[in-house]
């Protein structure tokens, strides 16, 4: 009896030690598996057999194999991962924007702005030269190209962020499907209550961590072993059910934009941290903000420059000129409400009370007749103003018409021997309608050099009169550079642009600083997790020796028992 008892105990020892060695093997094999938590065989003494002389132990029992984890640490880690990924996405957005603007280089917008103004300066020294005029046009085209390219690059980035959002929605859906599936497997495995599905749980933890990189989540473990996942109170996984996200194309910020919603009930997706919401924020706030800033800067530059340019005289007169911009409803909208088919940025493209003065030149004698036409911005429509213009100018000289598309044009009556230019416009009507302007367009995407100027460089309005050496208007254009006309009349153009780059730099720096802090936190938390759950090879080796020795000892007990039995059976 006693010997067989010893054999049974030793056998249980053999089995338990080999279980222990199995766990060591498993741990060592997974030493580098991401998200793996080390396991431990949980051994207890087997229930003893109670004899009258006492309870005799029956060896060892492996009660189970447990994972060594700190659940609280896991949720902390997930939160900080969401934050880290937010900052990573933002930091990459800022560095992308810096690359797009490419400031502090030799070919950035500020350099081209300088070159354009220097070309104008050269023109003021040699205003009659055709070469100096074409240099101005070439530098203007170069400035336009940079502005257009910057805008196009930002639009490309916008599209790319849309694609990112789309890809991330797909990834979120895959991950929550997997979590729902793991929930099912875990609750099935652990259904009896005895077993714990260690490796499935590790996989789920790992999947949750991947999900947390995309979206900030909160998890609540249920009694069944399933975990419910929510983001900002909205469910993503409930037991074995996944709530999918969907991305829908709409138009926001004037561009095709993917909007993320829940597929189930079309409710809005409110998450604020993680790669997905960060991509949305980078698109809708950071990128859109800088696009808007650049557009406003460009619109103010175009409009204010054109205001000065439109009332200058060139070395040649106009015989026909059509405005670049078209009024949507010239017959009934008053001038202060004028709709040009786009939303002007800043205080641009607005008509005030004032007047426009046209100088009509009799080409034969050179005699100039100036006619001043008042602009009443809240009483006149564009058509009405054109009619009042026609009533005031002498007959058979120049007529103003608004064509079917809404363009305002001025035309010399054929064969009347006249030409014209403008000498005064306090209303902004000419610049708003794009008449006799240097620039065309109204934002960074549409900025261009007026086609009239491209066709005939002599139409750059350098003077206040037609005298070829008159540079008074050009000097006004140069002086405009130092006037506080940008940003609602608070900054010069250069300062306004510098403020944009300054904001980009400051916010970028802040994001980078935050990113390196978050990286440290994530690193520290991972170290903490490793401290608790990581596999230490030295430790496993020690355990291996421990189990090996215990196994050998148990085997020894069996062999001693065997000798004892042999003695008993064969020698007695």
């Amino acid at each position: 009896m006693a010997i067989s008892n010893a054999l049974t105990s030793a056998l249980s020892g053999l089995m338990a030690q080999s279980n222990g060695l199995d766990v060591v093997g498993h741990n060592v094999a997974n030493a580098n598996t991401p998200g793996y938590s080390r396991q431990r065989a949980d051994m207890t003494p087997a229930l003893p057999t109670v004899y009258p002389w006492g309870a005799v132990g029956r060896g060892v029992e492996t009660r189970g194999i447990e994972r060594i984890v700190d659940e609280f640490l896991h949720s902390q880690q997930r939160d900080s991962l969401s934050l880290l990924k937010t900052d990573e996405t933002m930091a990459s957005a800022y560095s992308r924007l810096e690359a797009i603007f490419n400031e502090l280089s030799e070919n950035d917008l500020s350099t081209l702005f300088n070159r354009f103004y220097n070309a104008l300066q050269d023109l003021s020294v040699n205003v009659e030269g055709e070469a100096t005029r074409s240099v101005v046009v070439q530098q203007a085209l170069a400035l336009r190209d940079t502005v257009n390219v910057t805008n196009a690059a930002m639009r490309d980035y916008y599209t790319q962020l849309n694609n990112d959002v789309d890809a991330q929605v797909v990834k979120v859906n895959e991950l929550i499907d997997e979590i729902a599936d793991l929930n099912r497997k875990i609750s099935t495995t652990e259904g009896g209550g005895q077993l714990t599905a260690n490796d499935l749980r590790d996989r789920r933890d790992q999947t949750l961590a991947e999900l947390a990189e995309l979206v900030d989540i909160t998890t609540i473990e249920q009694a069944s072993g399933s975990v419910n996942v929510t983001t900002r109170g909205m469910p993503l996984v409930m037991l074995t059910r996944a709530f999918h996200l969907t991305s829908q194309l709409s138009v926001a910020n004037g561009l095709p934009t993917l909007e993320v919603r829940f597929q189930e009930d079309n409710s809005p997706f409110m998450a604020t941290q993680g790669e997905l919401p960060a991509a949305i924020a980078a698109r809708d706030q950071v990128l859109t903000g800088f696009m808007d800033d650049l557009d406003t800067f460009v619109a103010e530059f175009i409009y204010e420059f054109n205001r000065v340019h439109s009332t200058g005289g060139a070395t040649t007169t106009h015989t026909s000129i059509m405005g670049e911009n078209a009024a949507v409803d010239p017959a009934t909208t008053t001038l202060d409400q004028i709709d040009l088919g786009f939303t002007p940025k800043g205080n641009t493209f607005q008509i005030q009370n004032g007047s426009v003065t046209i100088a009509i030149v009799a080409l034969g004698s050179g005699e100039i007749t100036e006619v001043n036409v008042p602009v009443d911005h809240d009483a006149q429509t564009l058509n009405a103003w054109a009619a009042s213009f026609n009533a005031r100018v002498p007959a058979n000289t120049v007529t103003a018409t608004v064509n079917g598309a809404g363009h305002l044009s001025f035309d010399v009556v054929p064969n009347s021997g006249n030409g014209f230019f403008f000498t005064h416009d306090s209303s902004g009507l000419l610049a708003t309608m794009g008449v006799n302007t240097f620039w065309a367009g109204y934002d960074s995407a549409t900025m261009d050099v007026n086609s009239h100027i491209l066709a005939d460089e002599r139409l750059i309005a350098t003077g206040k009169t037609l005298a070829p050496g008159d540079t008074d208007n050009l000097l006004d254009l140069l002086a405009l550079r130092d006037q506080q006309v940008a940003d609602g009349g608070t900054k010069t153009f250069e300062d306004s642009y510098r403020a944009i780059i300054g904001r980009m730099g400051t916010e970028g720096l802040r994001t980078n600083d935050r990113l390196s802090m978050r990286t440290d936190i994530v690193m520290r938390l991972e170290n903490q997790r490793q401290t608790v759950s990581g596999v230490s090879l030295d430790e496993e080796m020690t355990k291996m020796i421990q189990f090996q020795r215990a196994y050998q000892a148990a085997a020894r007990v069996i062999s001693v028992s065997d000798i004892m039995l042999d003695t008993l059976i064969n020698r007695t």
């Binding site: 030493a31 300066q121 050269d122 030269g129 007749t369 994001t511 090879l537």
Partner: protein, 523 residues
């Protein structure tokens, strides 16, 4: 603490990454020679750099402008030097011919030589530089001087100047015109009457910008207390005084009306509700004061002070001199005779409405004059383009010329190098010895004028050069500042780089030693 293998690996990796990041930034700095290459590396420095870059580009451009300016002026100066030589040789001829011993035939022959000198002076005055006439004012593409069929020297230029930016906030004149150096507009009639216009409350009437001797009124808001309460009235978008009236009317529901004062061009504010009236500034503005309306009265009428509107091209002729209560005699005209041409101008008949119409009408006429509003905006000046002819301005049945202050019955004739040469030639031809003698004095006067002009050019060159030098200094100083802000200290960067490399090597060798070690090695 339990230290696991993963922890050791992660820590080593992170440290290596940090080190690599620093290395790449240093490499970037060493390759570009600049500390900051992206705004987010140091927003403050990058903002400074952008500002300095822009100011350096400007300073370089201003130096270029200054160089172009001085080359214009120096060219003008050397040309005038040649003109001076010609004047000297004409004087020598005159002195020689003034001698009693000269015969009529010799003098007549010398007359041709003087004509030749005149032609050469005109040639020099028509000097071109880069295809532009430098003595024609703004009329740079037209030959500024020509000798007419009547032997007069006609000036086709104007009084414009080439101005360039040499600093950010001002322009400098870098040219001289025919009127400056040759006295080409010396035959002129300067309006002797202040044309003080009265208020014109029409939609093309007096402009707010014309008030206060042309300095205008600061756009802003005034606060008016009247029988209906207190209102702030924004007048910043008013272009004409009619706009002022309409804005005030609509802001007070038609109770307050603005009109012109009795005599001088001043405002009169009338409260239809009986007053009392008070006009104040809003937020430290100057609008009310500049409109002459600042103040308060117990009654219904607030009388403003004189607003001194100037005469401008768009001023209507029928309001001129009405500030003084003496309207122009527009029903009758004036006659201008210049040399052989005569023309009578009747404003009513010609349909002239504004001062601009009158100036354009005179300038485009056949009498070769250039009419302008004077610099103070108080009157009209008429300049003859003909050097050698006499210009008279007389009445044509009324008193328009006198009203404009330009009546000139006796006539004016230029007294300059051209006329002295023309006269000398004529006197030689006519064998008029006293005339020849007096021509010497005239040439001396003209030479003196030339010298004065050259002295002024010299002063301008000096001023331009001085500003140019200042801009060169500026460029240098800014470049030094830029270097201080963003130039890399190479020795330090290279030392840092070396240091990083040492750290890197140490870390790598440590990792190589410690990572492979495990208990497994010893079992």
């Amino acid at each position: 603490m339990r230290v696991t293998n993963r922890m050791m690996i992660d820590t080593v990796l992170r440290d290596l990454f940090t080190n690599n990041n620093r290395t790449i930034r240093l490499q970037d700095q060493i390759a570009t020679g600049r500390i900051v290459n992206n705004p987010s590396e140091d927003p403050l420095i990058s903002d400074q750099v952008m500002g300095l870059d822009m100011n350096i580009a400007r300073a370089i451009q201003y130096v270029r402008n200054g160089q172009a300016g001085t080359s214009f002026l120096s060219l003008a100066d050397s040309t005038l030097g040649n003109v001076n030589d010609l004047a000297t040789s004409a004087r020598t001829l005159a002195v020689k011919m003034a001698n009693d011993t000269q015969t009529a035939a010799t003098r007549a022959q010398t007359s041709g030589e003087v004509d030749q000198i005149l032609a050469e002076v005109v040639d020099l005055a028509n000097l071109q530089f880069r295809d532009r006439y430098i003595f024609g004012g703004h009329e740079t593409m037209t030959r500024p001087f020509e000798i007419t069929a009547n032997g007069d020297v006609q000036y086709n230029g104007d009084m414009g100047h080439v101005r360039v930016q040499l600093t950010g906030n001002a322009t400098n004149q870098v040219s001289v015109n025919g009127a400056d150096v040759f006295g080409a507009f010396d035959a002129n009639v300067v309006g002797s009457v202040d044309l003080s216009p009265r208020f014109d409350f029409t939609d093309v009437g007096t402009r707010v910008a014309d008030l206060n001797n042309g300095t205008g009124v600061t756009p802003g808001t005034i606060r008016v207390t009247y029988s209906g309460g207190t209102v702030n009235i924004d007048l910043s978008h008013a272009e004409t005084i009619l706009d002022l009236r309409n804005t005030i009317l609509s802001a007070t529901g038609g109770v307050l009306s603005l009109a012109g004062g009795a005599a001088s061009p001043s405002f009169r504010l009338l409260d239809g509700g009986g007053g009392p009236l008070s006009v104040q500034e809003v937020g430290g503005g100057n609008t009310a004061r500049e409109l002459g309306l600042l103040g308060s009265v117990p009654g219904a009428i607030l009388l403003g002070t004189d607003t001194d509107p100037i005469v401008s091209r768009h001023t209507n002729l029928n309001v001129l001199r009405n500030g003084a209560g003496l309207p122009l005699d527009l029903a009758n005209g004036l006659t201008i005779t210049n040399g052989v041409s005569t023309q009578t101008f009747n404003p009513t008949a010609l349909g002239w409405n504004t001062v601009g119409d009158m100036l354009e009408g005179l300038n485009a006429s056949t009498v070769n004059v250039h009419a302008e509003i004077n610099a103070n905006g108080t009157g009209i000046n008429i300049y003859s383009r003909l050097n050698g002819a006499t210009m008279t301005i007389t009445e044509s049945g009324g008193q328009l010329a006198a009203d404009l202050g330009i009546l000139e019955v006796g006539g004016v004739r230029a007294d300059n190098l051209f006329t002295s040469l023309i006269d000398l030639s004529a006197d030689l031809q006519a064998n008029n010895q006293p005339g020849i003698t007096s021509a010497i004095g005239l040439i001396d006067n003209a030479t003196e004028e030339l010298l004065k002009a050259r002295a002024e050019i010299g002063a301008r060159v000096q001023r331009t050069e001085a500003i140019k030098f200042r801009q060169e200094d500026e460029e240098y100083n800014l470049t030094v500042l830029l270097a201080e802000a963003n130039d890399l200290d190479y020795s330090r960067a290279v030392m840092d780089f070396q240091n990083l490399r040492n750290v890197m090597e140490a870390a790598l060798s440590m990792a190589a030693q410690s990572l492979p070690r495990s208990l497994a090695d010893f079992l």
